[in-house]
Amino acid sequence: MSSRTEFVGRIRAEMAKTRGLFPATPAARPPRPTDLADAIRRELAERWPQALDRFRAEFERVGGVFHRVRTSGDVAQIVGDIARERNAHRLITWPADVLGLDVAADLRRHGVETTIMPHQEVVDAERQRLREVIADADLGLTGVDLAVAETGSLVLRSGPGRPRSTSLLPPYHVAVFDRTALVESLEQVGVFLEAWHASPDASAAGAVITFITGPSRTADIELTLTRGVHGPKEVHAIFVEAPIRG
């Protein structure tokens, strides 16, 4: 096995032998990504309806199901309907303060067995129990960090209260977002990624960031498109018109 010094040394030695390379630079990074991200948000506060239209078109093109409600108070009804129509009884959800809205009580009233994910460290036994709950869940309810109009993608950061598998193990994933999550392009996503990683708050970028672009799919058998191979077979996005956090 090689050591780091040997390995990097070998790279350096070979690099020294190259000549006649053409001038090339990496992509120019935003010098102050946090400011730029804020600027993007401000601009989008004006033209979010166009971004939302594009998002909806792209999201539906990749097989997502789009819903639109007036206020966060209407979310539980939609989720309840989705659950009932699909005979889905067990739901797991990010906690209210992470999600920005409290739907657990309403969902339970709809007859949906609802488990709230913890947002603090848990002991191993509890971790194991929750893992079984998640594995058995029919529906996972999450928030959204970015909704990307160009590609119809949902960007989710993992972290306390945001377990990775909420949007992965259950066959139905429902994500709730509002205009503040909308961005227009992958380029703008890049700005947010830079900003999150530049943040002094180490948790800003999460351990895992996932871009979800439609339901899980495969085309490995005769290139026949099949949904829900390992991840969810349906992805729903609920857009809340009135900003969720007021």
């Binding site: 190259t18 380029e187 700005v191 990624l193 672009t213």
Partner: protein, 480 residues
Amino acid sequence: MSEPELATPLRQRAARALGDRFLKQALDIATTKFIDLRRDAFGDFPEGEALRDRARAIKEATLQSLDRYVDQLVDNIERLGGHVHYAATADEARAIVLDIARASGARMAVKSKSMATEEIHLNEALEAIGVTPVETDLGEYIIQLAHERPSHIIAPAIHKTKGQVAELFAKELKREVPADPEVLTRIAREELRQKFLQADLGITGANFAVADTGTVVLVTNEGNGRMVTSLPRVHVAVMGVEKLVPSMTDLMVFLAILAKSATGQKLSVYTTLVRGPRRAGELEGPEDFHLVLIDNGRIAQLAGPLREALYCLRCGACLNVCPVYRQIGGHAYGYTYPGPIGILLTAMLNGPRSVKDLAHASSLCGACVDACPVRIDIPRMLIELRKEVAEKGIAPWSERVLFKMLAHVLGSPPLYRLAGPIGRLLQRPFTRGGVIPRLPLFLGEWTRTRDLPAVAPRTFSERWSALALEADHAHTESAR
């Protein structure tokens, strides 16, 4: 471990593939579909051409400072609590992963699709120490059940029909299975879901690693990459050292073109950015995170003739458009990486001797360059490999003598002038109505399926003096 020279010569492997009707049909359907999907994706994306140029520049810039970016990546991953390992060879890479597997006490490892682990033949080695590797990408799962190797970089089971997959599932899983992709996919989901939850070890490749943040990036459609990086106790990512990109801004440039080139999607379903092990307060995620950086012939190419092949994103676009790949499929190439880029990677990993014949498995049509998201000039490097094969005396002596003789004739007009008359004399017994239907020796390879034109009764050079007079004549005519 460099791979052994293959027992069957390339030409026979290719001929065998050509004789497989199922394969021919599967390849035709799949490659045609991939080509259309890619064309449509870029057709809707006017900025695509400029992004391809940027992506190419980023790859080049990364290689020009690779030492710095590796250092940065390693520092970041270690700061996050992850471990980085360094493998000069495939042997070392395997040994590293086996050590991690042993230390984890794992009995089973779930894997998401990774050409890097194929390259180092990891599965056999894991089995040998009692760790069961389970491929979880549907295509890879099929291939593993069939004890085969992937035949396409992104669609490993492209060569199998649904009927063949159903038979395979029925035999391996001992149950009745209809030849319906939907049902087959559901069966695989059920089979694999339990494995994801049970396995202690998750093994992945990496599409990119971002130096600035210490992030490993996985691009998948099925969600298995997310499972493997979220559920097991230990996550090992195995990655060629050339897959680094400097920053998140750079990463987005690649993401914008990768899926479009591979499957015609704007983005694959899941793009997963993994940064070290589980954080405090997180419910899930591995306790241990390892990145294995592989050299295995790559670093030498920083200053070698195959440098540009280090730009490769493994999207498979060059396979789909390659007229040779479309006829013979991936297995006939005989090594881990098939297709035009695969020939270059095979040479990089195993040395020029391994591509003595493969370097010629291309008509140099250049379709690959046009399809490549980072415009890798594959034909040029194939010619470089042919040069190396010729100059190092790896090519057969008969071929070398033939080309030297040809060069001699082409370098000497008096000798060249004799070619016409001599050709006419030699071809006389073989010519029928101006064409040659059958010839001995290597030209017989031509005439087996194609007529060869006969050397003209008078070559152009022999006709020129008369033609020159025509001009003088016309000139006097028009002057009059």
